[in-house]
Symmetry: C2
């Protein structure tokens, strides 16, 4: 049971810290450095994946798994796979040819700490490892469950999901003409699809009913959109010291965002409305969904 | 049965052309362009994956599947997944930060035809799609078979396989001190692991005996090494017009290769000895392995 990971499952901050520690311990073991010269790519993968972070997505996997009595080992495997995949996306998005970012999670980006070639390879290795982890028998005793996780993650991460979203984002640079519909679609692909999979993974592992699965997907869609609006607000209002990454990039690039379209006040209101809507999706789960309700508030109140 | 793809299964050139056509038709369907601005990444994925090529790895999947009476649909899915994965590795390896190549398969490399950001994303999308294809129910009715394919491909492609091999290769640039053991290990990771999986995929799909599976892996190891020696010979002796890619890069970079260590004559002899050894591994399969025997000769006699 997931509750073995959480020393105090009523306290979000403690539960998030417990989850992050458990996830990092698995990643540390998975990325044990080999003897050969290929050790360098392992170092880069470790540097990126073990950098301090909120570990929001793996937390969503664990909190979702908690609803269905999924075993700790299964839930942790899926949580780790999603964190590896998320980390690969950060490493590649930060590359000079992409967003050209110097700072990530409060430290130099992977290509700054190593070099571009190593960062590209580290991202490739992390992406591949995510699928290896999901396919591993530790993830679930039933191979049909494991292969469903692989399939859903690939769809969320690929050209009809995250990769497609990043492509739209690159095409939209300097484009002031995007309307709220286009921005919402961009978000749904770029960050929403992976957050949705993080929330759905527990339902897949727990062989939940379609109704429960739909409820979690609904929660994830609202949460993902709230998360992105909060991200745009942090880029507009936060500091690099607080967020641990470069800020003010959107306005500098003249990019259309939720903030540029809705204004600061409108964006804040929209994010809060989405949080209420997300929480409403979880009615059926009662107290068991307490941490998922708390994390929805956290997503829009966070400072980093 | 695979024989439905092959109009003349006794003729290697015809069978390879038939296989390539069948694989390309599936890729064409998989990468149908969507309406949104993300169409650009699909264009880049199509440009790279549908470029003229030998389609050696998917052919190995089909020829290996033929030994075990695997259905055409199953074998084609695995063949397509391997070709997508191989294509991603070419797109990323050609990037300016990696091998910085302008020419591939007789055309400008992906980042030359599009741009670096799009090429990085196209590679990421192709890698992810490979796993989506393997996880699809069309690949095999038994989810345990599908998830085994995912697991084996991830191991072959990841940091303990192809990604690790490319890291070693980058570290070895300008390194004249690599001995034959180090070069062989580099090859085994960088190109050998994926070729081995291509040969093994049919055995996994056909639920072959461990003995048959070991025979195919043995064949693949000899074939993979012969293939790499032939590649080094082409880089030393071929022309860009013949090979469709930049040549003479190894000597220019002062890189240790099989040719720099064994000499031209020694490398040629070694490649031929490996072909004989590879073919010897297939004794148990009799005439059914005829195309695998023919392709082993082709691998060292090819001009591109």
């Amino acid at each position: 049971m997931i509750s073995e990971i959480w020393t105090d499952p009523t306290n979000l901050a403690v539960a998030m810290a417990d989850s992050a520690r458990a996830v990092d311990a698995v990643i540390d073991r998975l990325l044990a450095k080999p003897d050969g010269p290929e050790a360098r790519v392992y170092e880069a993968m470790r540097y990126a994946a073990l950098a301090p972070g909120k570990r929001l997505r793996p937390f969503l996997v664990l909190a979702g798994s908690h609803l269905f009595g999924v075993s700790q080992r299964s839930a942790l495997q899926a949580a780790v796979a999603i964190e590896l995949l998320h980390t690969y996306s950060l490493v590649h998005d930060d590359l000079p040819a992409m967003d050209d970012s110097d700072l990530r999670r409060g430290r130099p980006t992977c290509h700054k700490a190593f070099d571009e070639a190593t960062a590209i390879l580290a991202g490739d290795g992390l992406l591949t490892l995510a699928f290896e982890v999901l396919a591993h028998p530790d993830t679930h005793g039933d191979p049909a469950v494991r292969v469903e996780l692989v399939s859903c993650l690939a769809k969320a991460a690929g050209s009809a999901g995250m990769v497609g979203g990043q492509m739209i984002d690159l095409m939209a640079e300097h484009d002031h003409t995007l309307d709220i519909g286009a921005i919402t679609r961009l978000q749904r692909l770029k960050t929403g699809a992976l957050i949705a999979f993080a929330c759905e993974a527990g339902a897949i592992l727990g062989k939940a009913s379609n109704e429960h699965r739909r409820a979690l997907i609904g929660y994830a869609h609202d949460l993902g959109l709230a998360f992105q609006i909060a991200d745009d607000l942090l880029d507009a209002e936060g500091t690099a010291a607080e967020t641990g990454k470069s800020v003010g990039r959107d306005a500098e690039a003249g990019k259309a965002t939720f903030v540029s379209i809705l204004g600061l006040e409108g964006a804040r209101k929209q994010a809060l409305a989405l949080v209420d809507q997300a929480i409403g999706q979880l009615d059926d789960f009662g107290d068991k969904a307490d941490l998922l309700c708390q994390v929805a508030h956290f997503v829009v109140e966070r400072k980093s």
